[in-house]
Structure formats: C-alpha cells, structure tokens
C-alpha cells in the first residue's frame, strides 16, 4: 500500500513560512491499496488538498476518524467529494456510549459552526461506528482499538497481505506510569503497533513540555520512540507536531533522535511525504 501524509500538525493548524517543510495542516493521511481502494485517516485541514486530488472520481472513499477533536475533523466540510452527487463515502468513527456518530459530527457540520448541514450533503454518505472486530475495505484489512487519549479515541492498524501500517496520531501510553514502557500487555496501543512496517505516532512534545501537559493525551518524542521500540515497529514517523514547533525546532529534534541507536528506521513526519509499505 502507499501512504501519503497530507497533514502532520497537531492541535491547531500552523501555516506560515516557518512551517513549510513539516507542514501546517492538521492530521490527514491517505492510504491506497493495491486495488486502488482509498482510505483516508482523519479529516484535519490536510484533507482539503487531498479532496482536490480525488474529486471527480468514481471510487468509494472510506474516511476513518480516530476521534472527534477539532483538529481531526475541521477539514471535513472542505472535502470536495462530500459535495459530489452520488459519490459513495463511508465515515467510520469511534463509538460513544451515548450519541451516535451522525449526531456527534452534526454538532460541527451545522449552523452556527458551519453553513452546510450533514444531512444536506449530496453524496451517498454512510456513517459507521468502528466495530470491535476487524473489517475489510477494498482489500485492506482494518483493525481499530481504543487507545489512551481523552474521550473515545481509537488507533488503527491497516494491513494488506503481510504488510501493515499502524496509525496512532493522538496517544499517551505513558500516562500515570512511573516508568515507561512497561510490559507490552499493559501498554495502550501495543497490539495495533506490534511489528508494524510503518508506525505513524504522536510525538507532540519535548520531554520538558510533556511534564507540563501530562494527561492532555499526547506523547513526548522520547516516549514515542520507547513505544515504537517496545512494539517492534520497522519504521517510525513522528506525527502530530506541536503547533509551536517550527521547522528549525523539528529539524533539531530529528537530528538529536538520529544520534541514538534506534532499532527502527526513523523518518521525518513531513507534509507530502509518501511511503511504500
């Protein structure tokens, strides 16, 4: 499968000359299977450019949301295929014990926050709670599981044949632990990431920043590397960059990380990057 990063920023879009290389758009990742199935992971502001690339097509689109924080859905209303009459689009999201996905998404896609209502979209839209069991879309196998992040939040593992991508953009597996990582079976997200060929994982903070933001649902780069190590990922992409981290700072973090003896390939999480998995 081919994986493209359309948005790598966390929490808040951060466009500007100082973020052009790592990118300013919030989370959105395109996954293309061998049979050209299109999976879109999250609908941050990066989805707007992806939408322009795939408009006018006929293929089904499956949009998999990890959770409904604003930085992961803000681009949804600007995804052009949603406005294409008859286009088959499926949106998958984490379950809630109280409200269905349509009701929760309609809180954003309705006035006064947005002029177009979800129910008025002309595409053929189907909404699903992600099921606890694996499911298949266009030859890609999808597995979702709840992970440690405030609110109902899932991570995904997408597999095609023997190859796999793990996507955990918002994840704080070190929360409340004196030492991290601990045993794999007590580590949030472990099963999703175990042995993944490509792991895209939250690495929002420096170690110092994380000390002031424990419980906010994100990882330090150090914890993200520890997680990738214990999970046995083959390649690791730091993701969900803090909006205050400019290119120079992210370059600096990358160069420090690369001085370590890493058991996986370390790839900068830059907007526009493409990976063959």
């Amino acid at each position: 499968m081919r994986v493209t990063l359309w948005g790598t920023r966390g929490s808040l879009a951060a466009p500007g000359p100082e973020t052009v290389r790592y990118g300013g758009n919030t989370a959105c990742v395109e996954v293309r299977g061998k049979r050209n199935a299109l999976l879109v992971l999250d609908a941050g502001t990066g989805i707007q450019r992806l939408g322009a690339m795939v408009r006018g097509g006929r293929g089904r689109i499956d949009l998999l949301l990890t959770h409904l924080h604003m930085d992961h859905i803000q681009g949804l209303g600007f995804f052009e295929p949603l406005y294409e009459r008859g286009r088959e689009i499926h949106i998958w999201g984490p379950p809630s014990p109280t409200l269905d996905l349509r009701t929760r998404l309609a809180r954003y896609l309705s006035p006064p926050l947005f002029p177009v209502r979800l129910r008025d979209l002309p595409c053929r839209l189907t909404l699903h709670n992600v099921p606890p069991e694996r499911f298949e879309v266009g030859g890609l196998e999808v597995e979702a599981a709840l992970v440690c992040h405030p609110g109902s939040t899932v991570g995904y593992r997408i597999s095609e044949g023997t190859r796999s991508l793990a996507y955990l953009p918002d994840h704080e597996p070190a929360l409340g632990l004196r030492e991290f990582p601990g045993e794999p079976e007590w580590t949030s997200g472990f099963d999703l990431a175990a042995g993944a060929d490509l792991l895209i994982h939250d690495a929002q903070y420096t170690t110092e920043e994380y000390q002031k933001r424990v419980g906010w649902g994100h990882s330090s780069i150090r914890d993200a590397i520890a997680f990738a190590t214990v999970a046995g990922a083959r390649r690791f992409v730091p993701f969900h960059h803090d909006p205050t981290h400019d290119d120079a700072m992210l370059d600096c973090i990358d160069s420090v990380v690369r001085t370590g003896d890493l058991p996986f390939g370390f790839v900068a999480g830059t907007e526009g990057a493409t990976f063959e998995v």
Partner: protein, 129 residues
C-alpha cells in the same frame, strides 16, 4: 500474550496512583493487578506474583462475617460485581497472610466497556476503625 483492553490499562494506572488498596480482576475473577496498598493486605508483591488465578488469590484471604462464620464466596462484593453486574459493598473480617484479623469494608463495581463488553471488576478495601 495479547494486550489488555485500554480500560483495564487506565484502571491499573489510576489504581497505581491511589492510596486505597485496589484489586483489579478479569471477568473470570482472576487477579490481574493489585496496587501497593493492597500488597500489604495480601502480604505479597505484585512484581513477584504477577497475575493470580481466582483459586490462588481467593485462598489468601479468609473472609469472616460479622457473626463469626465464614462468608460464602457469592456474598463477597467482587463476586456480586462480576456475576450480577452491579456495585456492592460489605463490611467483614479478613485474616491476611500476616495472621492479623482486620475489619474491612469492601466496595466493588463492574467494569463495562462500550458495546456491553464485560471487562472485569474493581475491588476497593477500606480498613475499618
């Protein structure tokens, strides 16, 4: 061995930070985790024992009712939480591994995940004055 459900992981992390003795069990009653205050009641350390089967860890306590008679298992709050899926509380006496009898209150509640998944139960022990 596969990863535990995130709800159990978060419950363990919370229990690790609290000062009350807390026991975390799976749907079969097997002891998945106990925190440091609970270690004092059990007389053993989690790092040394790890998880314990229901038979192993229930034999570490001798629960005695207020009337001095042994309590049947089905009367214990953790069993009620597991099998009747509701919270329960009971005061009783236990004799731990140190041989000391203590009067405790035990509160237990079931852990139910989204989609009706039964994940186990949590027991909290309160030493009574």
């Amino acid at each position: 061995m596969s990863q535990k459900a995130v709800e159990l992981i978060l419950m363990r992390q919370l229990a690790s930070s609290l000062a009350m003795p807390i026991f975390l069990v799976d749907p079969g009653g097997n002891l998945l985790f106990y925190n440091e205050p609970a270690e004092q009641l059990l007389g053993s350390r989690y790092d040394e024992t790890g998880e314990m089967s229901v038979g192993q860890w229930s034999s570490l306590f001798t629960p005695i009712g207020e009337d001095g008679a042994p309590l049947p298992g089905e009367a214990l709050p953790l069993n009620i939480a597991l099998h009747k899926h509701r919270a329960a509380h009971l005061a009783f006496w236990i004799r731990g591994l140190d041989g000391v009898s203590r009067k405790i209150g035990a509160t237990a509640f079931p852990l139910e995940g989204q989609g009706g998944r039964q994940l186990g139960a949590v027991g909290i022990f309160w030493e009574q004055p």
